[in-house]
């Protein structure tokens, strides 16, 4: 008998569903092929003919893949996006902004408060409460919030955990990790064309040269810090919980 699970799995490898859901669909369709094949064999068809008749059930695998995706995702797409991306993303963004504010102000949090806040305040004490300024002439200069960068791995790890707990795909988890820098990136991308369009009317404008430097301090470095915490967490939970998942 052909390995139907392998065949269906190969054709639906790019089915854009959660891994668990995709496995369920593949298992179900493979079971359907199994039943059809055995029934045809019982009716006296040769293995070759039965296989050929089974394969006739799907003329266009790409079309089936699209139909399955649309059918499975249509009703759930909003709630899945909310719980797997927007909720973890907005939570980590809010937390990262609070931490940024906290590291820039005089510590008012006592040891009785949350560990993450205490840790951030301690880092703030070590590195000071003013941002580090990396200057390449006058301007451009990058403003780097060192205590904030030290706190961001925890935020990234939290984003990965929350998205994974909600059943997020690898892509959703990744986006949840880097979500706190996405608004900065979007802002920079939005204002860049405007700045460049108006820049020719301003003599010796330092603004265009400041854009990549601002991206370094507000997007690239924080993004790396978020990934430093988020990616190991993603790897850890994939190893810890991935193998134990049981389809239901």
């Amino acid at each position: 008998m052909p390995d139907w699970r392998k065949l269906v799995g190969e054709h639906l490898a790019t089915l854009a569903l959660d891994p668990q859901e995709r496995e369920e669909v593949i298992e179900e369709l493979a079971a359907h092929f199994d039943e059809t094949f055995m029934d045809l064999r019982k009716r006296g068809l040769t293995e070759e003919n039965a296989t050929s008749r089974c394969l006739d059930e799907v003329r266009d695998w790409n079309s089936l893949r699209r139909s399955l995706q649309a059918a499975r995702r249509k009703e759930n797409v909003m709630s899945n996006r909310v719980t797997q991306l927007w909720l973890p993303g907005l939570l980590t963004f809010t937390l990262s902004m609070c931490l940024l504010q906290l590291t820039q102000s005089r510590p008012v949090v006592t040891r009785e408060h949350l560990f993450i806040l205490n840790g951030t305040v301690e880092i703030g004490r070590v590195f000071g409460h003013k941002p580090w300024i990396l200057s390449w002439g006058h301007p451009p200069m990058a403003v780097v919030f060192i205590p904030w960068l030290f706190a961001l791995p925890l935020v990234g790890a939290l984003g990965a955990f929350l998205s994974h707990r909600a059943g997020g795909s690898r892509r959703a988890i990744f986006l949840s990790i880097i979500f706190p820098v996405v608004p900065f990136l979007a802002t920079i991308l939005l204002i860049t064309p405007v700045i460049l369009a108006f820049d020719r009317f301003i003599a010796h404008s330092p603004v265009p040269a400041s854009i990549p430097v601002a991206a370094l301090g507000l997007v690239f470095l924080p993004g790396v810090a978020l990934l430093v915490g988020g990616l190991p967490m993603q790897l850890f939970i994939a190893r810890r919980f991935g193998a134990g998942r049981v389809t239901s």
């Binding site: 359907h32 139909s67 649309a70 009703e75």
Partner: protein, 110 residues
């Protein structure tokens, strides 16, 4: 009054009707529909599962994995309360559609 979705609903009606007798897995649904309609209505795998999943999303049927006597895992579908509720008006619409078509055929013959 025949609803706009009646034509599309005939496939749904076929599935809801066979599930009225109890829970079935996908292959059994297709097989039963083919047998009961003497081969006039036939679902392929490609036409059946997207429809089943849509109906599940709409809350008309519910699928759950079951293990058969031979130890094989199969996803069996059963009607939900909403599915049962939808069956009667859908039957009515289908019946009205066929009455209307019959009337048209009579006019054309006359």
């Amino acid at each position: 009054m025949i609803g706009a979705g009646t034509k599309r609903g005939t496939a749904e009606l076929a599935i809801l009707s066979v599930l009225e007798g109890g829970s079935l897995h996908g292959y059994e649904i297709a097989h039963k529909i083919e047998r009961q309609t003497r081969g006039k209505l036939r679902f392929t795998l490609a036409s059946l599962y997207p429809l089943l999943y849509r109906m599940e999303n709409k809350g008309l049927v519910r699928g759950a994995w079951e293990v058969s006597g031979s130890g094989r895992r199969r996803r069996c579908y059963r009607l939900t309360a909403a599915g049962k509720k939808k069956l009667m008006p859908l039957r009515q619409e289908w019946s009205e559609l066929f009455d209307a078509l019959r009337q048209l055929a009579k006019v054309a013959d006359a």
